[in-house]
């Protein structure tokens, strides 16, 4: 097990290095620079600014320097916002996004998985049809439709929840519901499929022949295997929740990282783009590592070396 984790960890680091290199050279190859603006700047001043940020050196040298800095945990200064480092920006906005993301994921799992189990156990009854058709509708509605819809219903018609800002617990509800419900729908369908596959296995018949009650068959015999599709989807779901949060944060005016991603790209804020890319990539690599470990833990047939 330790060998498997180490191996996957090293693979993850390689992936991150690759992502960093590709992003760096793509950004460097893009025409323009962070310091070009409508207003003409005197060449001497521009040269000074470029020297300050290290842009007077060749790209390959800048790559080595910035990689060294990032490995030391220094994401560099913001090229656009004076006196603010990328680390400052992340430290300020990341907790907001993390809170939104983890609450959304919790909603998705706590709602989706029980609904899927219930639907599978009560197959072809209204306890199956109602949650599953709701889930189908949930999958079909993109977050940029769901978000304004929820805002309209709960913010304007019933006027019980705030529709924009980030000032207290009630402000978390609508954005996290928008994100969470969408993934809850996916988890519900995946869990239902996984559980149904398990419940149709020959060894369920063996368990019934031993006199095992239905409840034990579901929880003890089928849950482990039935959750595998949902667990597998956890990695992509996290990636989706992160990128989905760009949209949701914009809809509900949440001061999270998503807005900085957009601003960074529009302003050609090279250091900010790189810093955020590395952060998000690390999160996804870490999550996939956890998913791999969970899968090995759930399925004894998987070999981990």
């Amino acid at each position: 097990m330790a060998k498997f984790i180490t191996l996957r960890f090293l693979q993850g680091i390689l992936v991150l290095l690759g992502i960093y290199a590709v992003t760096f050279f793509l950004v460097a190859a893009t025409p323009g620079s962070p310091f070009s603006s409508e207003r003409a700047i005197q060449p001497e001043i521009l040269a000074q600014i470029e020297a300050f940020y290290g842009y007077d050196k060749p790209t390959s040298e800048r790559f080595i320097v910035s990689l060294g800095n990032i490995l030391h945990g220094d994401f560099g200064p913001s090229a656009v916002y004076a006196n603010r480092s990328v680390t400052d920006i992340i430290a300020e906005s990341f907790p907001v996004s993390l809170k939104l993301g983890s609450i959304s994921l919790a909603i998705a799992l706590l709602l989706g998985i029980p609904a899927g189990i219930l639907a599978a156990v009560k197959k072809n009854t209204w306890l199956d049809y109602v949650p599953m058709s709701t889930a189908m509708a949930g999958i079909c509605l993109p977050t940029f439709v769901m978000g304004p819809l929820l805002a309209l219903v709960f913010g304007l018609i019933f006027a019980v929840l705030p529709v924009a800002g980030w000032f207290g617990p009630e402000f978390v509800v609508l954005p996290s519901a928008t994100l969470g419900l969408y993934y809850a729908a996916y988890f519900a369908r995946l869990t239902r499929g996984g559980m149904l596959e398990m419940l149709n296995q020959d060894w369920v018949r063996t368990a019934r022949a031993k006199g095992v009650p239905e409840r034990t068959i579901v929880w003890k015999h089928c849950l482990k295997g039935g959750l595998i599709p949902a667990i597998t989807f956890l990695g992509p779901a996290l990636a989706g929740i992160i990128s989905g949060s760009f949209v949701v944060e914009t809809i509900f005016q949440v001061p999270g990282l998503g807005q900085w991603f957009v601003k960074g790209a529009l302003n050609r804020d090279d250091f900010l783009i790189l810093g955020l890319t590395v952060l998000f990539a690390s999160l996804i690599v870490l999550m996939n590592l956890l998913v791999d470990i969970a899968q090995v833990a759930l399925n004894p047939r998987l070999k981990y070396d």
């Binding site: 020959d202 060894w203 018949r205 019934r208 022949a209 031993k210 006199g211 095992v212 015999h221 399925n299």
Partner: protein
């Protein structure tokens, strides 16, 4: 009183293409410690008969339409799920055809072995594990104390079937139903598995219902034999009666298919044609279209029911063919070219 008394059991599957009468009026009884073999081709209803007794028929589409199955004074077919669970795994156990899929791959062997024991008896985990190790040793699994904690995928097919037997017998049931326990195994292992079932049966005094399409296995193991075809019993009696004094043309044809009873170098005998489609009404004898005996009439009316002879030997005499001659003579006579064509056209 018999341990199990099945009367007029009828099980159907209500499918989109019609009602499949998989078991259509089957009756038999079984005493304590006895071994009953149920033989027949695929689709003859032998497995459905036993699944019905355990109420393991998937409902829907399956449904037990009628009959009784008195087990120790209680009707298995009408008792509540709760009462049924007290019998399943405790007093009646089951072994299935495919050991590769009949064990849960996500749970350790130990967990699955002690499950029935802990459900039906008040034993602590340690005692149960010790019993499980003893049970594995009884069925010939080496290093049982170590292997008991393995997962199913760490065992071979034959070993898994041994585990299944140990699991079924760990509660010392009164009745063991073995649904083609050797079909999915290779030939060298088949004999070992049958020996283990026989040995454990002798040790524990368990009654056994053995479902199989291997007549050789039946001859060596069973006290009584039921021959099934198209959801009904065609012939029943003691193993000697069914083997040495087979009355029904179907039973005789089945015997002809046993490879070891055929002359070396001769082409292996197969019964021409296909088993009947039980979703359509059958008039007269279900075996009539494939019957090698000279026909004496057109099949009509209800299917013939079992008639008991003085010695307890039963068979369903249709009266539409002349089954007086031994089958060898009949087949030899049929072996002329024009007769073969006729047999082909009858399908």
């Amino acid at each position: 009183m018999a341990l199990l008394e099945v009367k007029d059991l009828r099980t159907s599957f209500y499918t989109r293409d019609g009602i499949v009468r998989a078991v259509d009026g089957v009756s038999f009884s079984l005493d304590k410690g006895e071994t009953l073999g149920i033989v027949g081709e695929s689709g003859s209803g032998k497995s459905v008969t036993c699944y019905s007794l355990m109420r393991l028929i998937p409902e829907p589409p399956g449904r037990i339409d009628g009959g009784t199955a008195m087990f120790d004074g209680q009707d298995l077919l009408t008792m509540s799920q709760k009462e049924l669970r007290k019998i399943r795994g405790k007093r009646i156990s089951m072994i299935f055809q495919d050991p590769m899929t009949s064990l849960n791959p996500f749970l350790r062997i130990s967990t699955q072995l002690i499950e029935a024991l802990r459900l039906h008896y008040d034993v602590d985990k340690k005692t149960a594990i010790n019993k499980a190790i003893a049970a594995l040793e009884e069925v010939g699994i080496p290093e049982a104390a170590k292997r008991v904690h393995n997962y199913p995928h760490e065992f071979s097919g034959g070993m898994r079937q041994r585990v299944m037997i140990a699991m079924a017998l760990i509660t010392e049931p009164d009745l063991l139903i073995a649904d083609e326990p050797t079909t999915a195994l290779d030939v060298t292992v088949q004999a070992q598995i049958m020996d283990i079932i026989k040995k454990r049966q002798e040790d524990l005094g368990t009654a056994v219902i053995l479902i199989t399409h291997d007549l050789g296995v039946v001859a060596g193991t069973c006290d009584k034999v039921n021959v099934m075809y198209g959801g009904r019993m065609m012939e029943s009696g003691t193993a000697e009666q069914v083997f040495y004094e087979a009355k029904h043309p179907y039973t005789r044809s089945l015997q002809k298919t046993i490879p070891s009873l055929q002359t070396k170098g001769e082409e292996l005998y197969t019964i021409p044609g296909l088993p009947p489609d039980v979703s359509k009404p059958i008039h007269g004898c279900a075996f009539y279209p494939r019957c090698p005996y000279p026909k004496t009439g057109k099949p009509e009316g209800d299917r013939p029911s079992l008639v008991e002879m003085a010695d307890g030997h039963c068979y369903a005499d249709c009266g539409f063919c002349d089954s007086s001659a031994p089958i060898e003579t009949v087949l030899a006579k049929n072996d002329s070219p024009d007769e073969v064509e006729q047999a082909g056209a009858a399908e």
